[in-house]
């Protein structure tokens, strides 16, 4: 197919009927970056699916060590969850301010989003430090290995999201709402909301179901 359209001269005259040309009205994605970023998120989703599968398989293999019911502090997880959920809506507000082309308001909401994300990471690190202090290290049991792998991978994503957010704030401050920055904002928005979606799986399957008897 590509041969006939690229080298029409190589074929005989009758093949001319089969030639296909690009028609402007044809359907195709208009901005490749956003679709490409979505595909990246989907592949990231597969990473998390593998980690969830590992947790699903060995999540109850305590090796006579502590179980989720012994370790998890649900009120801490609830605070963490609300931090991430609030950061989602504040990022939404930043996107809305960007649509209205108000730079300072956008930066303000982005800053609040970053602080909420940092609070989330801080609480998670506090939880990890607490667990390790109690002897519930990743080496203790298969359950804890899977737990740390899954939750820390999510935490690393949030950390890099915060780094991206800070860099983007600097770029917005410097260049304003140029098309590149608008595109970056949309990508980061997808990334941030995607992490919140993954967190739904984490708090449901790991924390809430982990403490069930």
């Amino acid at each position: 197919m590509s041969n006939t359209s690229v080298h029409p001269a190589a074929d005989d005259v009758h093949a001319a009927d089969n030639l296909r040309f690009y028609v402007p009205g044809e359907h195709h994605p208009q901005n490749g970056t956003l679709l490409g970023f979505w595909l990246y998120l989907m592949s990231d989703c597969l990473i998390f699916a593998c980690l969830f599968a590992v947790y699903g398989v060995v999540g109850r293999s305590y090796a006579a060590g502590p179980s989720g019911a012994d370790l998890f502090d649900l009120s801490l997880v609830a605070i963490n969850t609300s931090m991430l959920l609030l950061s989602s809506i504040t990022f939404g507000f930043a996107m809305l301010e960007m649509q209205r082309k108000r730079l300072n308001a956008t930066l303000l909401w982005l800053g609040i989003t970053g602080l909420l994300g940092a609070a989330f990471i801080g609480l998670e690190l506090y939880e990890f430090a607490h667990l390790i202090h109690e002897g519930a290290t990743p080496q203790r049991s298969a359950f804890l290995s899977a737990f740390f792998a899954l939750v820390a991978t999510h935490g690393l994503h949030v950390t890099f999201g915060i780094v991206w957010l800070i860099v983007l704030m600097v770029q917005l401050k410097k260049h304003g709402f140029i098309p590149e920055n608008r595109r970056r904002m949309m990508c980061l928005s997808m990334f941030w909301h995607f992490l919140d979606v993954v967190w739904i799986g984490v708090f449901t399957f790991v924390y809430l179901m982990g403490v069930l008897p």
């Binding site: 590509s2 989907m42 597969l46 599968a53 649900l74 989602s88 507000f93 649509q99 595109r183 809430l208």
Partner: protein, 142 residues
Amino acid sequence: MSAHTNTLANGHHGHHGHDDHGHDHDHDHDDGHEPSTFKGYMTGFVLAVILTVIPFWLVMGKVFEQSSTTALFLMGFAAVQIVVHMVYFLHMNARSEGGWNMLALIFTLVIVAITLAGSIWVMFHLNQNMMPGMMHDMKNMP
């Protein structure tokens, strides 16, 4: 479609989109999404809060006697909340990016379902067949 024509098409439209940025709003597809609204985000947020609070209440308040009942409810709420986030925060619909977003999502969901269900199914049966009672049979195998 040959790669050649695709590149041309994307290049052309990329420039078109950039030129139009900033000074007109009548074509909402210039960045692949329709404009988000305050109402949309708030609806999503309120729904997400409700769908988060109920599972925590179910577990922390020990509402059900049976763990399996609670687990079923938890999974149900998680599934609904993921859909809410997808629709209101990630602006998923069948039209964004000409439907390719949705296609990629469906493909991923299929793979994720196979990965999760397959792993748990296989490993569960592996565990069962490796139970201490089975070791006697294993010894007699060639």
